[in-house]
Amino acid sequence: MIRFDGVTKQFPDGTVAVDDLSLTAPTGKITVLVGPSGCGKTTSLRMVNRMIEPTRGAIVIDGQDTARMDQAQLRRGIGYVIQHAGLFPHRTVLDNIGTVPRLLGWDRARTRERSRELLERVGLDARLADRYPTQLSGGQQQRVGVARALAADPPIMLMDEPFSAVDPIVRDQLQDEFLRLQDELDKTIVFVTHDIDEAIKLGDQVAVLRVGGSLAQVAEPAYLLAHPADDFVADFVGRDRGYRSLQFQPSPRLPLRSERTVVLGERPGEAGSAWLLVVDEHRHPVGWVEPGRVGDRPVEDADLHRGGTLARADGTLRGALDAALSSPSRRGVVVDDSGALIGTVLAHEVLSAIEDTDRPERDERDPVRGGAVDVAGEQA
């Protein structure tokens, strides 16, 4: 557990970067610090491993005041990932990953073995081991950065906008893999981003900071979207928060209707409606066709309309609603765990389900509430 205890950072020129921050990052959870430029989120992060020293207040890790710990020792026990990965250009991928173990005095063989294991863990090909960072793509470099931070198995990870410099598709992949990894590793993570969507997707709790470095609100993502503490937070979480908050609400049992389908490569037969769902031989939906256009010939790949998203039966209300809204037939496709078709659902049916669901309330057992939070009345 990392506790910020009334932490203030004033730089020599008088700027206050962080103002009386009190916050707890619980063990094994992802705490995201989010806010606009100048809100002191990176400064706060760097005070944890003392790359910046607080002016006032203390940062306590598992009961120990970091100010009393040896700097280098403290840092070697904390994984750190930054925006451009910060890989050492003169070292191979494997040697980059093995940096901290070597600093801790592991022997060469053990370090290499551990580095190879991590390379695989972050989803990189073993053939990349002897490459230099300049030979990797941005996404690959970032994975190496994560592997390097994990090398000595530190209980704490600090991540400073690690996925901001890669393109949106790669970012999405990296985020998903990061969550999968965290599922296995249970690190105590403090994650900094300026992107509220990323914060909401990754955070177990999200701390919104305002310019000047004061804490505006800290809460679980669903609660944050449903109950922003003030105008600043409401503005910052953005316009689509009503819709986005649906992603934290598991679908209740939706009234599914059965859907007539055609297997790809076969003839659609008699046209029942304007749109017909196409599946593969495992009953996995692949797209929609207009039977009127296909006529009497087999359905080809080129006939497919792929605009519709798929919702999992055990997924969220957001997924179900999006499937209905994005489907050309207006019938949202719902699949099971294996990706096979179960049935379809209409948007108004999802909306009825939403109306029957309560908005997320604060979990009373929530251990994450910092002392400085002031929930200043709810907004409509």
Binding site: M51, Q73, G86, P89, R91, V100, L103, R131, Q135, L158
Partner: protein, 215 residues
């Protein structure tokens, strides 16, 4: 050519002395420049003082330095050590700045990562900063090498033998073969040192050539 044919042994001896007098200071100067350059980079207030005084050293005429060196370090007037020390001073004059700039050129995010991983002190300098400064430092070293080879010739005037002797003697006695040999041998020596430095830097920086082949 005739002159060279009958005197090649002398020329070879002089070339070896020349290499010694120009090369050893190169190594000594580099070793001294690392702490100076590191200090200049580490404490930016010292940068101006260190770099300016180093630059001023280079403006001292070599002949004057060769002559006063015995007074400063207490050596004999004909001791080759005078030249070695003086040349080391020139090397430091050129390299202190190069090392400081090379260390400053290490990318910020790499420095940050090094700090965050708990690198400090000498391990940081030799493990991260200096290896990354090699391309810049090597470039400075090449300039210093050529400059040393050229300045050392002047030492003939204070009685320290090297390839400069051929120039002085060839000029005084108007022996064209000797004069041309002296010039060519000096140029050749400079080229050899330069090639050695380039090769050395190449061995130390395999990553700079590892371009392309993205997976």
């Amino acid at each position: 050519m005739d002159w060279l044919a009958s005197n090649w042994r002398t020329v070879l001896d002089l070339a070896v002395s020349h290499l010694y007098l120009a090369g050893v200071p190169l190594v000594v100067g580099l070793v001294l420049s690392v702490p100076l350059g590191w200090t200049a980079k580490r404490w930016s207030r010292t940068y101006f003082a260190i770099i300016t005084s180093a630059g001023l050293l280079y403006t001292i005429p070599s002949l004057a330095l060769f002559v006063v060196m015995p007074l400063i370090v207490g050596t004999k007037i004909l001791d080759p050590l005078n030249v070695v020390i003086a040349m080391s001073v020139y090397t430091v004059a050129l390299l202190a700045r190069t090392v400081a700039d090379g260390l400053t050129a290490v990318p910020d995010h790499v420095e940050q990562a090094a700090t965050a991983m708990g690198y400090k002190g000498l391990r940081r300098l030799f493990g991260v900063e200096l290896p990354l400064a090699v391309p810049v430092v090597a470039a400075g070293l090449r300039v210093a090498a050529v400059s040393n080879v050229s300045i050392v010739s002047v030492a003939s005037i204070v009685g320290i033998s090297q390839l400069g002797d051929l120039l002085v003697d060839g000029y005084n006695r108007v022996i064209w073969g000797e004069l041309v040999t002296g010039i060519l041998a000096t140029v050749l020596l400079a080229l050899v040192l330069d090639a050695l430095i380039v090769a050395g830097a190449k061995v130390l920086t395999p990553w700079t050539r590892a371009a392309g082949g993205r997976a």
